[in-house]
């Protein structure tokens, strides 16, 4: 057993999984409340990465930031999350709310339309080229060796820790606050929640805000860890986030987190250990999705839907 490889793939999988988990949370929250697959979510993640990039430029760029590198990163996270939260609210208000009582296919198509709109707007506004966060220059990426052959970098630690922190905050928000209670009530029975005096529109907007802000955090983390962002980065990441949400049990917040880590680890370990793993990593990831549909359609932590017949 090559423990160096095992540890390396474990860290890679957890890093990637952290990002997928943040995206999956947005999918699962929106689905939980509206029963809508928000396919524009991956593109919100891309917009978040770009907003942070432009904030970094505004702060003077990675080579000569006006503030310390770590403070610059904190500002990038804050601005990207706020901007994408607002974008999410806007998308809900203009693309989904008018279709709330339409057949379920209509908002789904609207979501695909928003996704394509965001992708192409990004291409038009920011061009097709890769943008570089230059994390090496900004904060000085450092590797820590544990033993002789185990390596983990400060940005990997930051990504895993920050995403776990955000997930804890979200869990507390949903389980311990009035807003969270309203979200749970709306998710359980929208009409009943409305009759109990909950402003469902406001709850849905808040859900979009939180989900989109988490996706933006994922986008910024991606830029910091992997160095580069581009206009089409949201498509595959969105699909993986969606897969994570389904594998974990769509509608379940702990399920989305678990699904995200599982997808990240599947990708990393299949690359490391399976034949042709690096070439076919996506094949293994989506095979997991199909297997999950066949074995447990409601996902790992999802509850089966009971319908009156």
């Amino acid at each position: 057993m090559d423990w160096s490889l095992f540890f390396g793939e474990l860290v890679s999988g957890l890093t990637l999984g952290s990002i997928y988990a943040l995206i999956a949370l947005g999918y699962t929250m929106v689905y939980g409340i509206l029963k809508l697959l928000n396919f524009a979510h991956g593109d919100v993640y891309m917009v978040g990465a770009f907003v942070a990039f432009f904030v970094l430029q505004w702060l003077g760029g990675p080579l000569s930031p006006a503030v310390t590198g770590w403070l610059a990163i904190a500002i990038m996270f804050a601005v990207a999350m706020l901007a994408c939260g607002a974008l999410g609210v806007g998308i809900e208000r203009f693309a989904y709310r008018p279709l709330r009582n339409a057949p379920r296919i209509a908002p789904l198509i609207s979501a695909l339309g928003v996704s394509i709109f965001l992708q192409n707007s990004a291409l038009l506004l920011w061009g097709p080229q890769f943008r570089d966060y230059n994390t090496f220059d900004l904060i000085g990426v450092k590797s820590y060796s544990i033993g002789k052959n185990f390596f983990i970098s400060n940005v990997q630690i930051l990504t895993i820790a920050a995403s776990i922190g955000l997930m804890i905050v979200l869990t507390l928000l949903v389980s311990r606050t009035r807003a969270g209670k309203a979200m749970r009530a709306t998710s359980f029975d929208r009409e009943a929640a409305e009759m109990m005096g909950i402003s469902v529109d406001r709850v849905i907007s808040f859900t979009f805000f939180v989900g989109s802000a988490l996706a933006a955090a994922g986008g910024v983390m991606f830029g910091i860890v992997f160095g580069q962002i581009f206009s089409l980065m949201g498509f595959t990441a969105g699909l993986k986030g969606f897969t994570a949400a389904v594998v974990g049990g769509i509608g379940s917040i702990p399920g989305a987190m678990l699904g995200g880590f599982l997808i990240g680890l599947t990708e990393a370990f299949s690359t490391g250990y399976l034949p042709g793993g690096s070439t076919y990593a996506n094949l293994y990831v989506f095979a997991l999705l199909i297997a999950m549909f066949l074995i447990r359609p409601s996902g790992l932590l999802g509850s089966p839907v009971i319908r009156k017949v």
Partner: protein, 393 residues
């Protein structure tokens, strides 16, 4: 109901078989018509139209834009000094996009059906050249690529007389690269990571075979062009590896790979790229970086002029597209001497191309052999010194 379904399935099956049979029966006719294609006479007029196929957008747009800039640089210079003007009809091929080569094929079909287009610069990728051959050849159009290096493009005979390129094939690049690795760097353990595109796989195969013939231990892996996280694959690279070879097309990806290697404690391993990674983004990784690049006269005054007019960026990857535009324009000029031309005439004129060393920008004369390749010259080998590639072989 069941009978109706079975009947429908059978009917559909019959239709598919009939279509396939009709298609295969048509194939030989298609081939013969290709040889006569492009015989329609076109008035050349004051402005001659040339197709420009490149990845304007999509994952490979960062290098596609270099080609577009250089081709347009040629066009502007030409139009300033000639009464008859040239104009590009742009077709975005979106190289590396999720729908494969579909956009390139659509673009080729659009150019083919535009009767005023007399020749094509591009496409960029070897897989795109393969995919668009049917459409371009069927329309009788000549296509001259400034970057498609896959060896088989000119050796399989599929597009002879229609396809030409202003870069040497991978067989030339692989020889230069493997010889440098073995004779100068004296490496014994190499790890090759291709990016699953025709260009990359072809080049990786050739380098791998040449290295193995010299008793070098070679491991092989692949990544997707859309991938940004390489940590999982870097973890697999044995620590006693002496050199990692990346025959890739996207410099930002090469940079990300190099940075992630450092992060994962493998920064000491030498890194070598191919012509697609010949870019400051890749050379900036450090002194452990090497690269190969097609013949180019970087001291030519036009390189300096281009750099000046493009914000200080020389975008050298696109330079052979300048030569490709020069080749197509030259052939159209000759074919249009009497004011009219056919695509077939342009094809004939391309074969007669003879650009001297002075005017070719490549540092070598541009003449084509019977298969469509330029006079072969070894690729240059470069070493990154303080972030800048310096030629070492």
């Amino acid at each position: 109901m069941r009978k109706v379904v079975v009947a429908a399935v059978l009917a559909a099956g019959m239709a598919v078989l009939a279509t396939a049979a009709w298609g295969s029966a048509k194939a030989p006719q298609g081939a013969s018509s290709a040889s006569n294609a492009g015989s329609a006479l076109v008035k050349c007029g004051k402005t001659r139209l040339i197709g420009l196929m490149a990845p304007f957008t999509g994952p490979a747009a960062s290098i596609g834009i270099n080609q577009v800039h250089w081709a347009n640089f040629y066009k502007n210079r030409y139009n300033r000094t000639h009464k008859k003007k040239i104009k590009f009809v742009n077709e975005d091929t979106m190289l590396g996009a999720s729908n494969g080569t579909a956009e390139a094929v659509k673009g080729a079909q659009a150019l083919g059906s535009n009767a005023s287009v007399l020749g094509v610069v591009g496409p960029a990728g070897s897989n795109e050249v393969k995919a668009t051959t049917g459409a371009l050849k069927g329309a009788g159009l000549v296509f001259v690529s400034g970057s498609a290096t896959n060896t088989t493009l000119t050796t399989d005979g599929t597009r002879t007389g229609f396809f030409f390129r202003t870069v040497p094939p991978d067989s030339s690049q692989s020889k230069s690269v493997s010889a440098y690795m073995v004779n100068t760097l004296k490496v014994k353990r190499v790890y090759i990571v291709d990016d699953q595109e025709a260009y990359s796989i072809g080049l990786a195969d050739e380098v791998q075979a040449l290295l193995k013939a010299k008793s070098v231990s070679v491991s092989r892996d692949g990544v997707s062009q859309s991938q940004s996280d390489f940590s999982a694959i870097i973890n697999k690279i044995p620590r006693n590896t002496q050199l990692v070879y990346l025959p890739w097309q996207l410099p930002p990806k090469g940079k990300a790979f190099g940075q992630q290697m450092k992060t994962l404690g493998r920064g000491g391993i030498k890194l070598m790229g191919s012509d697609g990674l010949f870019d400051p983004a890749f050379s900036g990784l450090g002194n452990h970086v090497y690269d190969s690049f097609f013949p180019l006269n970087t001291s030519d005054a036009r390189v300096a002029a281009f750099k000046k007019s493009h914000g200080g960026n020389s975008e050298l990857f696109g330079a052979p597209s300048y030569v490709a535009a020069q080749v197509v324009t030259g052939a159209i000029d000759r074919a249009c001497k009497d004011g009219k031309a056919t695509r077939a005439e342009v094809r004939r004129q391309i074969k007669k191309t003879n650009i001297s060393v002075k005017t070719s920008l490549l540092g070598l004369p541009v003449r084509f052999d019977g298969r469509g390749d330029i006079v072969k010259r070894p690729f240059g080998i470069y070493h990154s010194v303080k972030g800048v590639f310096v030629r070492v072989a």
